[in-house]
């Protein structure tokens, strides 16, 4: 026989929810700690070659060293700046291009095969050409970060524009709205969730573009550190850069998730 009141049942539900959350968090921590612990152990016992795979303690001392003399901060700032800018330019340019395509069906029909080709082409292969054309430096690296996401953004956002429920358009047309007004009042806001999901993809892509760009020309940035570490056989430096990249890529992703929950409160 059950004698619990409504309130008790609800409390039980909440308690279970909390317990489950705690359980997941603990397991996540265990994985993290045992990963680094095992790595450290394997490295110090020479199960893996510490020269190639480094070790957490080695990486920690490299990071401490590089941060305290300020050099790492510069590299980090450079790469972050390039990535954020490349990401923003790629995304915004993609949305603008999608808007232009939406404004004329004929234009989008004409451009269709070219977009397909440009999308299929591996953008990092353009790296050498971009560097020759724009010159080695920030500008070509930012271009790399942008170009890698611009075409896919255009395609995804444009198809989202086209999938907006035609009845919203019908409502606006009954008020004699112009095509521009239809875009502003219905098509664009209805597409915001789709745009956010392309942002999430673009974050990762921009990191790829920027790191490859830095491989090719730079003498600053985390991508440069990876190549430099590789050349001087300092794999602790390579690993340190890699870990920083992972952390900051994840942080950018989380920031976009925050923006998402804020923006799409009322779009469903």
């Amino acid at each position: 026989m059950k004698h619990e009141s409504d309130h008790q049942l609800f409390e039980n539900y909440q308690r279970n929810l909390k317990r489950e959350k705690k359980f997941v968090l603990v397991l996540q921590l265990i994985i993290l700690v045992s990963f680094f612990g095992f790595w450290e152990l394997a490295s110090s016992m020479y199960w893996i070659d510490p020269l190639i795979f480094s070790s957490p303690s080695e990486i920690y001392s490299v990071l401490l060293d590089k941060f305290s003399d300020g050099s790492m901060l510069t590299h980090l700032q450079v790469t972050l700046f390039e990535t954020v800018l490349g990401f923003l330019i790629g995304t915004i340019l993609g949305i603008i291009m999608a808007t232009v395509l939406w404004s004329s069906e004929r234009l989008s029909n004409i451009m269709d095969p070219y977009l397909v080709v440009m999308n299929a082409m591996p953008k990092v292969a353009l790296g050498p050409i971009i560097i020759v054309a724009i010159g080695p430096g920030y500008l070509s690296i930012i271009t790399m970060g942008a170009i890698i996401s611009v075409v896919i953004t255009t395609l995804v956002v444009y198809s989202a524009f086209r999938e907006v429920d035609p009845n919203y358009v019908k409502v606006l047309k009954s008020f004699k709205a112009s095509r521009g007004q239809i875009f502003k009042e219905a098509v664009f806001p209805a597409t915001i969730p789709a745009m956010i999901s392309t942002l999430k993809v673009n974050v990762g892509l921009s990191w790829v573009g920027v790191v490859v760009g830095e491989f090719l020309v730079s003498n600053e940035g985390l991508g440069y550190l990876i190549v430099y570490g590789f050349q001087v056989f300092d794999f602790s430096l390579v690993m340190s850069s890699l870990i920083l990249i992972s952390i900051f890529a994840a942080v950018m992703y989380k920031i976009i998730e925050r923006i998402e929950t804020f923006l799409i409160k009322h779009t469903k």
Binding site: D165, N167, Y168, K170, V171, L172, K173, S174, F175, K176, A177, Q181, E185, A186, P189, A190, I192, H266, T267, K268
Partner: protein
């Protein structure tokens, strides 16, 4: 003088390999302040007629006149209500209601006040800053009604506006819409596949045939029914007589056509 006239209007839908004649030789006219129902099975082109009058799609033959002027020059102000409310989920209720005025660049305080008054009139007060997702289906369709009326349209096009609602809400909303449209003496066209709803709300019923869409027969609703609220009409003795007449005609049409499609039966009798 008639307010709106469709003169031998036809419409074709074209696709790459095929075309279908959606409307064939539609001719009817509506007087100012009249409430006309277009009744017929799904796929008979009822909604297409509304879209043509609204200027959203172009008819392929025939002519439409508003006050004896061709439609294109007439600048007809229309109000359009669809099957679902299609409120913009990212706009607050008041912004949804004021979308029409916003598009015509009329954002005066007076219009805003009108909007709030109209919302009160349909029984929705104190929700202006809420968002559509917190409202029930019936409330949302009432907001859509206010959004339609706020621009003071000359003619209302109602495209099965109650079909997505549950029966009880629907009966209540029929009364509300009927009363409001009567109060502002709006000319209205209601598209429906529900015989009862057509009789309850309109002054005249145009029964349509499918494939291609055409007007099979016109039924005048008796004067006694026209001046009653929809809910009361349904209980009037003359309601059943007219219902049976339409039912019989609908079935005969269905039998005549070689279509195998199952015609939707009315939801209530």
């Amino acid at each position: 003088m008639s307010f709106l006239t469709l003169d031998h209007v036809s419409h074709h839908y074209f696709s790459k390999k095929n075309f279908t004649k959606a409307l064939d030789d539609i001719t009817f006219s509506i007087k100012e302040g009249e409430f006309v129902a277009l009744l017929g099975p799904s796929g008979c082109g009822k909604s297409t007629i509304l879209s043509i009058i609204a200027g959203i799609i172009e008819h392929t033959a025939g002519e439409i006149y508003v006050n004896d002027q061709p439609l294109q020059q007439a600048e007809l102000d229309i109000g359009y209500m669809l099957q679902q409310d299609y409120l913009f989920p990212w706009k607050s209720i008041i912004d949804n209601v004021l979308i029409g005025p916003k598009i015509s660049h009329d954002q005066s305080e007076e219009t805003k006040k009108n909007a709030v008054d109209l919302l009160n009139q349909v029984g929705l007060s104190g929700i202006t800053e809420d968002y559509p997702d917190s409202l029930s289906g019936g409330m949302r369709q009432r907001v859509a009604l206010v959004r339609t009326l706020i621009t003071n349209p000359k003619i209302l096009l109602l495209d099965e506006p109650f079909s997505a609602l549950d029966y009880q809400t629907r009966l209540k909303l029929e009364d509300l819409v009927w009363e409001l449209l009567g109060l502002y003496s709006k000319t209205s066209i209601l598209v429906t596949h529900d015989i009862g709803e057509a009789i309850a709300m309109s002054d005249r019923i145009l029964l349509m045939d499918a494939n291609p869409g055409s007007i099979a027969k016109t039924f005048e609703v008796p004067v006694e029914l026209r001046n009653e609220k929809p809910f009361l009409v349904r209980r009037h003795p003359k309601y059943q007589i007219l219902f049976d007449k339409i039912w019989e005609k609908l079935n005969k049409n269905e039998a005549n056509s070689l279509q195998h499609e199952v015609v939707e039966s009315p939801n209530e009798t």
